[in-house]
Symmetry: C2
Subunit: 407 residues, 2 copies
Amino acid sequence: MPPKAEIFSQGEEIVTGQTIDDNAAWLSQRLVEMGFQVIRHTAVGDNLSDLAGLLQEIAVRADCCICTGGLGPTLDDLTAEAVVKAFRLPLQFDVEACRQIEGYFAARGRIMPEVNRKQALLPQGALRLDNDWGTAPGFALQAQRCWFAFAPGVPYEMRQMFEEKIRPQLEQRFVLQPCLLATIKTVGIGESDIQQRLGQITIPAAVRLGFRARRDEVQTKLLFPHDFPTEERLDLVAAAAEHIGDAVFAVDYSGSDSVDLAAAVDALMSATGQSLAVAETASQGLIAAKCANYDWLLESRCANTAQRLCRLLGVDDFSGIETETESSLANALRAGSGADLALLQLYAGDRGALHDKDKSIILHHVLAHDGGVSTGTASTVGPLARKQNQAALLALDFLRRYLQGLA
Amino acid sequence: MPPKAEIFSQGEEIVTGQTIDDNAAWLSQRLVEMGFQVIRHTAVGDNLSDLAGLLQEIAVRADCCICTGGLGPTLDDLTAEAVVKAFRLPLQFDVEACRQIEGYFAARGRIMPEVNRKQALLPQGALRLDNDWGTAPGFALQAQRCWFAFAPGVPYEMRQMFEEKIRPQLEQRFVLQPCLLATIKTVGIGESDIQQRLGQITIPAAVRLGFRARRDEVQTKLLFPHDFPTEERLDLVAAAAEHIGDAVFAVDYSGSDSVDLAAAVDALMSATGQSLAVAETASQGLIAAKCANYDWLLESRCANTAQRLCRLLGVDDFSGIETETESSLANALRAGSGADLALLQLYAGDRGALHDKDKSIILHHVLAHDGGVSTGTASTVGPLARKQNQAALLALDFLRRYLQGLA
């Protein structure tokens, strides 16, 4: 049986709903991939006896618990005190922790406020977890059955501390048999469609199939037990991707970097050394915004109507979205920008339909390249923000398909 | 003392981190606004004895608990069984529930699969909560100290059921004294700065002051008890906003719509009836993307260097960012677009600094209007995505200040 882990989040802002506790989900994913069984998440507010009581419960129920929040300098940061109360340990002043906190302020040209001294008080016998990314040091200790690690609640600091300080400890302290997760990423196709396509292949009972619809992609997840044969695993992932079809833009494996659609396009653009110019209508700047990381995007123009876009591109008459107009617009953009590729994102319908969440619009993608002009269409519905995002994604995906020889 | 509430989420996808439990945050916000004190969130997976044990714990600890998930038709949907096990109640077949589930399928031209009959089995004595938005009916019952309501985990169905079926029950069953929340929203100024400025006014102990740094704004929250005098409350919010200064772009009150920076700009633009054209460099399309809702934004151009932007705007020589060049660029954009206002987002430094998270860049905002050209600068640091977002926000905020007569 895998060791049992829990996640414990402290903070009034979490129990009152002001902050969504995405730390818990992030930590759980990491722990599951490492081979833990996560059995419970708990969040409580800034109340000393609630906190101490919860720590006592977890100490007899779990093998490991990652706790976030409550390490700050203010009165409502109660974690160290709660540990003291729960496990009857005294607090000790940690000279090195204090030195690091002073150093953090010194590097910013400031003197450590007196209130921050509190953060250098750690429970006796605890292992200090240095915080190289903020002021609050974390700490870890064994209490009864459970090894507790306490990290800051600020997501960036928490993630860094988990990866650099907590993960190595967990790997030393537990015998873990990590699961393997493959994530097949798509745009432009829904969960139920994917599910239906996957119905054609047999997925062994030991493999857990899951879906996650995110704003910019749908993820199809296959979680393999540690002892699942490698070859069978690779075959199954390949078969799943093949059945889902060419909507698949990336397959991520646990441990590797997550690739979003813009990164998938970047890999293809960089491989061919081409540059791109973009003109957008419904996506309203989001294509450019999603590609901000990449130097191959030379310029982008956007306008709130196709007529105005024509003016921007110096094309005179616009008589509706027709193949001919589309081509001349895309060619004008390519010539004017000097880019190798020119991507046009247009839509059919008036601006009223764009704003009406119940009306659908037809998106047109037009790509001018040295072989001519390629076009595609797709339909989208929902609130404006969704249409805008879908317009950007589907145009980028059209470019991806062209670069892969699929469009 | 306000009644104590808990949130309980069931689902393997939550404890394994595949789904972020935003139901818990949504429900907590509603409950706090209604006048409950939310003391704990718990999520557990699909394990019958864990579920039953947790229900027993909550039954003696809280006055009210909203539970989500586990009402579906499949084997891992264990909520009703867990209630039976925890409180020794038999399951009863609910004819009306079954009729509604059959009706749901009939409306979609399908026959109810046999597996869905399970969803019509409710614990004896439970109040059925009709689900007019999906298949799984919810239910509610009193067990020891606690009134439990069980709703589906699908966010849309859960929210509808809460508003239409659960909220009226809560209002009947509890004596509630709702708190009042004022949220002061700013950009371009950090939490610690705000805290320091607020140090100059006295905040009564009964008022809870909180901060929340979000990607697009910093929120300063003042939570007032139900019996706090109205006039004093309004005075305190006004004094707080005044001390924070002109970085404040909106003040939201609980119950009213949340106003983001683009919406604040929209209110000002619509009041004056002016139109806008935008040119962006570091923000790379994000100004346009954030204003996609609004017809006063006529067009936007973005380029990955200021040189290329000059070419796009038909301005010949670009000799670095100087007041003169900035003005001619902004005037060229205003003239070329025919818009009443032209907003230019530029930055000083090479693209290398934009990509380097440790290097800061200086942002330049330039606004051409019928009274001439106004300019401003700000500095930003961090990863590219942060610089890009800050560039968009600070340029929009510069426009907001101009429209309010502050720039």
